[in-house]
Symmetry: C2
Subunit: 187 residues, 2 copies
DNA sequence: ACTTTCACTGACTGATTAGTCATTTTTATA
DNA sequence: TATAAAAATGACTAATCAGTCAGTGAAAGT
């Protein structure tokens, strides 16, 4: 991966979040990245391919971060809590990436193909849930519903934190929200 | 409200959902609505004002629907369940509107002002939560966090249903997801 | 019958911009 | 050092489209 490519991706991320896809010209991205307008099209066939690549790589980064140290968690509870904390941490450390997901996950710019590819990066969470139900750690539930609810709760928590005025009890909120989720799901 | 205005709003909703904001020209909206290109600009100063009006009116319709018959629910549990069912029902009866929210709630097209106005339509939910905590029906929690989690869980449920292959146990899923939420929140 | 009003029309335009490509610069190779 | 290959440049273009405005026709008022 070239360094110029990285600069383009990173400039695109910022500008898309600040001004939206439509109000960000490829010329503006190139300028911010410090490359010529043509260079962008060496690395990405089109503006659409650029945003899809950005989406996929961002998802991949999050997925990787979630799994770091996951093997050290012994119980299902601990594994879910690990994923929870990693996700919150990553989102707070990468506010642009998080905002990017909020803005574009449901937009028309991301193709169905890209979404499929991204979903496969989170396959491991489905496995986790299936095993948890099988071993009786959590109450019986459709895997997809569990994953959806977990993601929803997580997203709601992060969004709440992002717009909440007091960050001092941030950690308590994060833990409390997880406790609530776990309370609803445990066997 | 003129009938042409309605047709423009409704055409815009469909086209925005199908092709996104950027790939929907005002000419296409006008054509689908069966009016001249200039007519759109009689009712909306700009394409941006159009999407903001659409957002606000859709939110208002949902808010109104949620509150229909709400006074008949006696307990906090019943009130929340009423809102839950009304929301799910409305989203399934108005899939375009629901998709529109998913696509544009976090987009750059909806102004902060519009979002503020929309939020005020849901003021009643915050009151509900405050009273519930005060009377001890639910465990103590920050109002904003509760509202955020409720919305997140609801949204996750509807999204799960929308992409789930089997609609036969739809009602069970809806009730189950609410039971899980209530389990996590009740005093 | 004349005038005024006004919702509506649609051809038109000025501005924007995604993407191209002939050329130059840099890097690798012999 | 000479040559080839690869990477990068940026002026340019073809196309799109939001928004305008002079004009139309129907209805209301006098």
């Amino acid at each position: 991966m070239s360094e110029k490519r990285d600069r383009i991706i990173s400039a695109a991320l910022q500008l898309f979040c600040e001004n939206g896809f439509q109000h960000t010209s490829t010329a503006a991205i190139s300028k911010k990245a410090g490359v010529a307008t043509g260079t962008l099209f060496l690395y990405f066939k089109s503006k659409d391919e650029l945003i899809n690549a950005l989406y996929l790589e961002t998802k991949a980064a999050l997925s990787k971060h979630m799994q770091e140290g996951l093997e050290q968690a012994a119980t299902v509870h601990d594994k879910l809590f690990h994923i929870w904390l990693k996700s919150v941490g990553w989102s707070e450390a990468n506010p642009y990436h998080f905002r990017f997901f909020n803005m574009f996950s449901n937009s028309a710019f991301i193709s169905a193909l890209t979404k499929d590819e991204a979903a496969s990066l989170f396959q491991f969470t489905e496995e986790l849930v299936k095993n948890a139900v099988a071993e009786g750690s959590i109450a019986p539930i459709e895997t997809g519903l569990f994953v959806s609810l977990f993601g929803g709760q997580l997203n709601a928590t992060i969004n709440y934190l992002a717009q909440s005025p007091q960050p001092e009890n941030r950690q308590q909120i994060v833990e409390k929200a997880f406790r609530l989720f776990w309370k609803s799901m445990k066997a």
